[in-house]
């Protein structure tokens, strides 16, 4: 009888303990002073990956080391990040609980990956003039009065029917699209392709002057780096 009573009391005590701690869940690790920081804590929500039979919802499926800068200029380094190009969100791996967190976009100003060749790949949150409510992360190629950015977007595309690895019939595939934008002063976004004529057309009445500047500086527009160089020169000469 006493044994039973003890068991019941123990169970009740455990239950009471669980009750009080239920609101704050700390998964699989002990919360220590390591959690302390004077920075604004990284906020986000649990990320649930999609089942993607073909392609990927991320820019890169592997976790990459990177940094995040918040709107209040607080900076977090050495985070394990993935860029979800389907939702245009940054996913962070919480090292101690191994949970995947979709970081709140309203808090983040910039994030980036440290690549192996020390070439920083940085993404900035930008809002288009025509849609200030909707912000996206753009890869920054050139950041001055004029900006060249890339928007990586993964879309679910209709494809001929196929059987996925689980044996189910599917007719969609996740494919990543790369859109280049030139941002003029005044937050004016213009989409362009890496081709000479469409690029020159973006400058409207200044087209002739741009052409002249490019000729004078012997810039031929073939690769991404040529366009970045061209914008640097155009900005210096004409803006």
């Amino acid at each position: 009888m006493q044994k039973r009573l003890k068991t019941i009391v123990t169970c009740l005590l455990i239950f009471a303990g669980v009750q009080i701690h239920a609101q704050i869940t700390i998964q699989g690790f002990t919360l220590t002073t390591e959690a302390n920081s004077t920075k604004y804590k990284l906020p986000g929500k649990q990320f649930y990956p999609l089942y993607v039979p073909s392609g990927s919802e991320f820019m890169d499926d592997k976790w990459q080391l990177g940094y995040v800068i918040l709107e209040n200029k607080d900076r977090y380094d050495s985070l394990r990040l993935k860029f979800n190009t389907y939702k245009n969100e940054v996913i962070c791996l919480h090292n101690r609980s191994m949970s995947m967190i979709e970081l709140d976009k309203n808090v983040i100003k910039e994030f980036g990956f440290y690549s192996v060749i020390d070439n920083l790949m940085s993404f900035q949150k930008l809002q288009r003039k025509d849609d200030p409510e909707d912000s996206h992360y753009f890869k920054m190629l050139y950041d001055g009065k004029l900006k060249i950015v890339i928007l990586y977007q993964t879309i679910e595309k209709k494809v001929p029917a196929y059987r996925d690895k689980l044996g189910f019939m599917r007719n969609t595939s996740f494919e990543m699209r790369t859109d280049y934008y030139l941002i003029f002063p005044g937050n004016d976004f213009e989409k362009f392709k890496l081709k000479r004529t469409p690029f020159l057309n973006l400058f409207g009445v200044k087209k002739k002057e741009v052409r002249k500047v490019l000729r004078q500086n012997q810039i031929r527009l073939f690769h991404e780096r040529d366009f970045i160089r061209a914008i640097g020169v155009i900005e210096k000469e004409l803006y």
């Binding site: 920081s37 604004y40 649990q46």
Partner: protein, 547 residues
């Protein structure tokens, strides 16, 4: 040998450079004396930090000469220069007190230097002030520095107007960044103590806690101890919350000595903060806040009897303060306002999945009815006096197994019964987050934030785990309205002791001004302080003796 000398010279040079690069704060109060209950205005300049402006909070404390703390304010400086005011407590005894300025990072530096300014306080109820404990240190009369000359011409006859011309040498004019000009009553006793006293931190202070470079933010620190044994409670999570339209929230885990800290940015004024320990033993422990003061060694004193002139001046000043209150009443400065500017669009729990406005619905008597009728996605259960709340998890389309984070006017609450009696008339809105939320290293199984129509924190006192404190953050920026103003009515006597105070950053124009003396008889003093680009302080003062 030569090489050795070279190395020693370089090392010495580097060391002296390091010492020279130490941050120092110079404090310039507008007076050297006051009557208890007065407001002392001050300017403060940070020097020795080069172009680093990342530490812009200056703390100014008023101590007695034994280094017992009396009051303190914190001001935000702009380009290393700040100003503010300090309310001298009404009940403060007659004596000499010390004004000390410091920044939080200086607390970690055992070789930091603080410049103490002395302030003579006459208690407004003291009828006969005849002696003082004065600092037992050599305080020579401050000689005027070169580069500034002052010419003052009092108008003849009954006029109390004084014309002042300040001549600043060209070389100094080009070097000076800003100038502080003051004209005030001369106190034959207090003006012996105008020189700043250099003091060093007390050795017991070297174990400084969290030396953060405060940039438009204030570090709140405190500790948790067991009520009975006074033993520090370590490794326990502590929550800080500030009720607001966008509630502020932060957490910290107490260290080995039971200490915790929170760095709150952009909070101005005096506001209520709620701190709670999140553990089963919370009721057995006590939370106390640690005062953010600098500890320096006390100043030894010796007794001095006032001369007749000094005694007369003190008596006149106390009488003037008495009559000033009769004629003008007591004007306290707004000290209880509070605001905290937001860096982000949403609260710490992110964008709500739904926001419900119960007043748009029919009247419902309690939270159970509200959850049933209005809050879809909220499961509220009452069983044998036990209440449980569960939220929908939209992430994996299920119901969370544990309680969500419940907030009442932005304050986390653990007892769901606190919500039970709320009805549609008392609730302004309810934010619900149907996702597992993370905030740094902690997570919540959904969030249910209830905002009442009259958000007072009276209910907090009924919850033993919640500790409410009135905390003074950055002082709101105010301009001294009493300076540079002559009395509005000629029928009301004028008892000002500071006649003119100006902070100039535009130094190209010649400095000439006029001011009106008050009805308090006595000599007056004009002081010009120039802060140079190299943070050198050039100071000149002139006492005008009147017949």
């Amino acid at each position: 040998m030569k090489q050795l000398i070279c190395i020693i010279t370089i090392v010495t040079g580097l060391l002296s450079f390091r010492a020279g690069a130490q941050e120092q704060i110079h404090l310039f109060p507008d007076r050297t004396f006051c009557v208890s209950g007065d407001t002392v205005w001050f300017s403060a300049v940070i020097s020795g930090n080069g172009t680093d402006n990342t530490n812009n909070i200056i703390h100014i404390q008023l101590d007695d000469l034994r280094s017992n703390h009396i009051t303190k304010v914190s001001v935000a400086s702009d380009k290393n220069s700040g100003s503010g005011y300090l309310l001298v407590p009404d009940s403060l005894s007659t004596g000499i007190y010390a004004l000390k300025a410091f920044s939080n990072v200086q607390k970690k530096n055992p070789s930091a230097v603080f410049f103490t300014r002395l302030l003579v306080v006459y208690n407004r109820f003291d009828e006969n002030i005849s002696e003082f404990n004065i600092p037992d240190i050599d305080l020579p009369e401050k000689n005027s520095d070169e580069g500034i000359s002052i010419a003052a011409t009092p108008h003849s006859g009954k006029s109390k107007t004084v014309e002042v011309d300040v001549n600043v040498e060209k070389s100094l004019r080009s070097e000076a960044l800003e100038m502080i000009v003051t004209a005030r009553l001369f106190d034959p006793f207090a003006d012996q103590f105008t020189k700043a006293i250099e003091s060093r931190p007390d050795p017991s202070m070297q174990n400084a806690y969290m030396p953060v470079r405060e940039n438009n933010g204030i570090l709140i620190s405190g500790r948790i101890v067991q009520n009975q044994t006074e033993t520090p409670v370590k490794n326990t999570p502590v929550f800080l919350s500030i009720a607001d339209t966008l509630p502020y929230f932060d957490y910290c885990v107490s260290d080995e000595q039971g200490r915790f800290y929170f760095y709150v940015r952009n909070a101005v004024g005096k506001g209520d903060i709620v701190i709670q320990e999140v553990s089963k033993q919370a009721r057995e422990n006590r939370i106390e806040l640690l005062g953010n003061y600098i500890e320096t060694e006390g100043i030894s004193t010796t007794r001095q009897i006032l001369t007749l002139a000094q005694n007369t001046f003190a008596s006149d000043l106390v009488k003037a303060a008495y009559f000033s209150r009769i004629y003008k009443g007591y004007r306290s400065l707004p000290a209880d306002s509070f605001s905290i500017s937001k860096d982000f669009q949403y609260p710490f729990y992110g964008p709500p999945t739904f926001t419900f406005y119960p007043e748009l619905f029919i009247d419902l008597p309690n939270f159970q009815e509200i959850s049933r009728e209005i809050l879809n996605g909220v499961q509220y259960r009452e069983k044998k006096d036990e209440v449980s709340i569960r939220l929908l998890n939209r992430g994996n389309r299920s119901i969370f197994n544990s309680e969500p984070l419940k907030l009442m006017d932005g304050i986390p609450i653990f007892d769901p019964k606190l919500l039970s009696k709320l009805n549609t008339q008392t609730i302004e809105k309810i934010d619900a987050v149907y996702f597992k939320r993370y905030f740094g290293d902690i997570s919540f199984d959904g969030v249910l934030a209830v905002y009442s129509k009259n958000p007072t924190l009276g209910w907090v006192e009924s919850v033993p785990e919640l500790n409410i404190f009135k905390y003074t953050f950055i002082q709101p920026a105010l301009t001294p309205t009493l300076h540079n103003q002559s009395p509005q009515s000629k029928n009301i006597p004028d008892f000002r002791t500071v006649f003119y105070r100006e902070h100039r950053t535009e130094l190209a124009d010649p400095i000439n001004f006029r001011f009106e003396r008050s009805d308090i008889k006595g000599d007056f003093l004009i002081e010009v302080i120039a802060v140079c680009k190299d943070k050198r302080i050039v100071k000149t003062r002139k006492v005008i003796h009147l017949d």
